[in-house]
């Protein structure tokens, strides 16, 4: 097969160029780390973030505002649902697609939307979920982590948390719990190592930092080019 010989030839050229042995085994630059170390590091990060929780929330919010994200502090879960209901009514939305996640279900959004005759759809409830997501006016998701220093939402793809929710509708509302906020990338990757494992990060990890944007025409900033035009973050109370 041509593919195999291309592989051997490229690897051969590389090892000759580096004057090294080809396939010298998988490199372990830092040596394998024991899983107990991973656990300890993860615990340290969690407690450090807990310690400066209020600072992280403030930093996260100020970064979000800088990049055009609307932030809403929900005093109660019901006010979170009300906030989304208001967006839906204002935009005359017919359909809302939502993640099949506890944090979304927990705010009782479906009841409020039903009352207004707005469809509430999750991928568990709809076999044609993708088609629905294309037509939907709002996508509501939770997040898995949030980064304070850049205002970034981190979403891990899985059954129930379809990637389309935060991508296809013109409005994305993300519900964030305070204990999901960590300082930044270094914390995140360390936590992912322990809580998810490097062996399988899942089909997609998505970082979302602000609404979809472009500046391809005369460097004029335009939001909502392919992804959502509006990004709302609802911060729940712990």
């Amino acid at each position: 097969m041509a593919g195999t010989s291309a592989r051997e030839e490229i690897l051969g050229k590389i090892s000759r160029a580096l004057k090294s042995e080809a396939n010298s085994g998988p490199p372990r630059p830092n040596g394998p780390r024991a899983s107990s170390d991973e656990a300890r590091l993860a615990l340290e990060i969690r407690s450090r973030c807990e310690h400066k929780r209020q600072n992280l929330i403030e930093q996260f919010e100020s970064e979000l505002v800088k990049i055009g994200v609307r932030v809403y502090h929900a005093a109660t879960t019901d006010s979170a649902a009300e906030y989304i209901e208001q967006i839906a009514l204002k935009r005359v939305t017919k359909t809302v697609v939502a993640a099949d996640a506890e944090v979304v279900e927990g705010i009782g959004l479906q009841k409020r939307l039903d009352r207004n005759g707005i469809r509430y759809v999750t991928d568990a409830s709809d076999a044609e979920f993708r088609r629905t997501a294309i037509e939907a006016g709002i996508g509501v998701s939770g997040v898995d982590y949030a980064l304070a220093d850049t205002g970034t939402l981190v979403l891990l793809a899985r059954t129930g948390q379809a990637r389309s929710i935060s991508l296809l509708p013109p409005v994305h509302v993300a519900i964030v719990k305070p204990d999901q906020i960590v300082s930044g990338l270094d914390d995140l990757f360390q936590l992912l190592r322990f809580e998810k494992g490097v062996n399988d990060l899942g089909s997609a990890v998505t970082f979302i930092t602000g609404p979809s944007r472009t500046a391809d025409i005369e460097l004029t900033l335009v939001v909502g080019v392919h992804g959502p035009q509006e990004l709302h973050v609802i911060l729940l109370k712990n």
Binding site: I14, P29, S164, L185, F207, V225
Partner: protein, 473 residues
């Protein structure tokens, strides 16, 4: 790689005289201002750049091992890995995948590697629709042009140019604002995304330890290209692999800052294999094509090797006094600016691109701003000397008279009396050739030196003799 770099002198001269282009190119400084502000917001920006460089050094030094680790992990997660020695092989792999899967429509994310191998042209010839979905790339594709900037492909076009283009090609007349044009493109391209059978992207990074391809973007078109079509193909140069998640963190902190002055690009996608059972979106098939296409040649040359550290951020273009005046198209290749003047000779051959290493003032602004501190001026000088020396196979090298004159000069330079005698003689003989106290036309093979500028006249009295007089006073 198809290049028109032979025409660099002609095209760059035309570019300098093109008023519209000149006014567009003035926006480039905005990138640099934003970039500097973004780096200023980092406590340890300079240290991060050093760290990024050392990760690249370490990775490239064991590139074979990291690539096989990446391959192993991609395959373990249900993906497929292909290796392509040349652009032609990479195109054949994509065409084969398209045929096997009965692919009629393709959506593409912005990728310099796919531009490099001219994938769109090959797909078109095979009767497969391949649509660029990054707004800038979409504009450039509609206009049948090439991207003129690594990061901002349509930076050479004015709003009015785009309005005219959309009126002609998309039947969308009377667009005035960038917002309206963007909305038109969104609608058109959304239809393409929904109908596409295959999404093709590049890869900013490949993480060896996790088997993950990492993609940075602002628009969401790459997310759509990797989420909606049933097949995702990613084309990645061999140099894009990084060992660990921790290493990636360093690059994520500097790449968006360097490219667009953002702390983080709007979207970063980590794709590990195909969609898992039970998931409703994401490609059902994932293919990674690992591309050489001249990169192992750069690797084998220790003086050129560091050009493989390039992250394709485009910062060196924005600060280059030559790029700022001639724009990207004059370079006649997809990789323009200072870094392009190094990469193009490696990919297309120095004989086709001999003018590029000379299209630099060697001011060092590119080295200064490069997030991984590639010493571009040093490599440009190396390429110049390679060209001047010539090689029997391809390159004529510098004209014989020029080479002889340089040899003579070097000979005299090392013998002080001969040197000062030659200078005094020349200063005396230059008299009839002076115009306004300058040499405006040098004779013989040296004519090129005075084609666009004057050569200063030799001083009547040398610095050494002035110094002597000063001391004896």
């Amino acid at each position: 790689m198809h290049v028109t770099t032979e025409a660099f002198i002609r095209d760059s001269t035309a570019a300098v005289q093109n008023k519209t282009l000149q006014s567009r190119l003035r926006v480039l400084t905005t990138f640099t201002i934003k970039r500097n502000a973004a780096f200023a917001s980092l406590e340890n920006g300079e240290a991060l750049r050093d760290q990024a460089r050392s990760i690249k050094e370490k990775t490239i030094a064991r590139l074979d091992a990291y690539l096989t680790q990446l391959e192993e992990n991609v395959v373990r997660l249900g993906g497929n890995v292909h290796w392509a020695r040349t652009g032609e092989e990479a195109r054949a792999i994509v065409l084969d995948l398209a045929r096997k899967n009965n692919v009629k429509r393709i959506v593409k994310g912005k990728s310099m590697a796919t531009e490099e191998i001219e994938l769109n042209e090959a797909l078109e010839q095979a009767g497969i629709e391949s649509v660029e979905t990054d707004l800038g790339e979409y504009i450039v594709q509609l206009a049948h042009e090439k991207p003129s900037h690594i990061l901002a492909p349509a930076v050479h076009k004015s709003k009015e140019d785009v309005a005219e283009l959309f009126a002609q090609k998309l039947d969308a007349p009377n667009l005035k604002q960038a917002e309206e044009m963007t909305a038109v493109a969104r609608k058109r391209l959304r239809e393409k995304f929904c109908a596409a059978d295959m999404g093709i992207t590049g890869a900013n990074f490949g993480i060896a330890e996790t088997g993950t391809i990492v993609l940075l973007e602002n628009e969401g078109n790459i997310r759509l290209s990797t989420t909606l079509p049933r097949i995702h193909v990613a084309l990645m140069g061999i140099e894009k692999v990084v060992p660990t998640l921790g290493d990636l963190a360093v690059f994520l902190k500097i790449l968006a800052r360097s490219a667009s002055g953002q702390k983080m690009s709007s979207y970063v996608s980590f794709i590990s294999g195909a969609r898992r059972a039970g998931e409703t979106d994401g490609a059902e098939e994932f293919h990674l094509i690992i591309l050489d296409n001249g990169r192992t040649r750069l690797l084998a040359d220790e003086e050129m090797r560091e050009s493989l550290y390039c992250l394709r951020c485009g910062a060196c273009l924005n600060v280059c006094p030559v790029y700022q005046k001639v724009g990207g198209h004059a370079y006649g290749t997809v990789y323009s600016g200072p870094i392009g003047s190094i990469l193009t000779p490696a990919f297309a051959g120095l004989e086709k691109s001999k003018d590029l290493p000379f299209a630099s003032t060697l001011c060092g602004a590119c080295r200064e701003i490069c997030p991984v501190r590639i010493d571009i001026p040093r490599i440009l000088l190396k390429l110049r000397s390679e060209w001047a020396e010539g090689d029997r196979a391809h390159r004529a090298g510098a004209p014989l008279t020029e080479r002889l004159a340089i040899k003579l000069w070097a000979f005299a330079m090392r013998r002080r009396f001969l040197y000062s005698f030659a200078f005094r003689t020349a200063a005396f003989l230059q008299g009839p050739m002076l115009e306004d106290g300058k040499l405006k036309r040098l004779p013989f093979a040296f004519g090129g030196w005075t084609q666009n500028r004057d050569f200063p006249a030799l001083a009547r009295k040398s610095f050494r003799s002035m110094w002597r007089d000063e001391e004896s006073r």
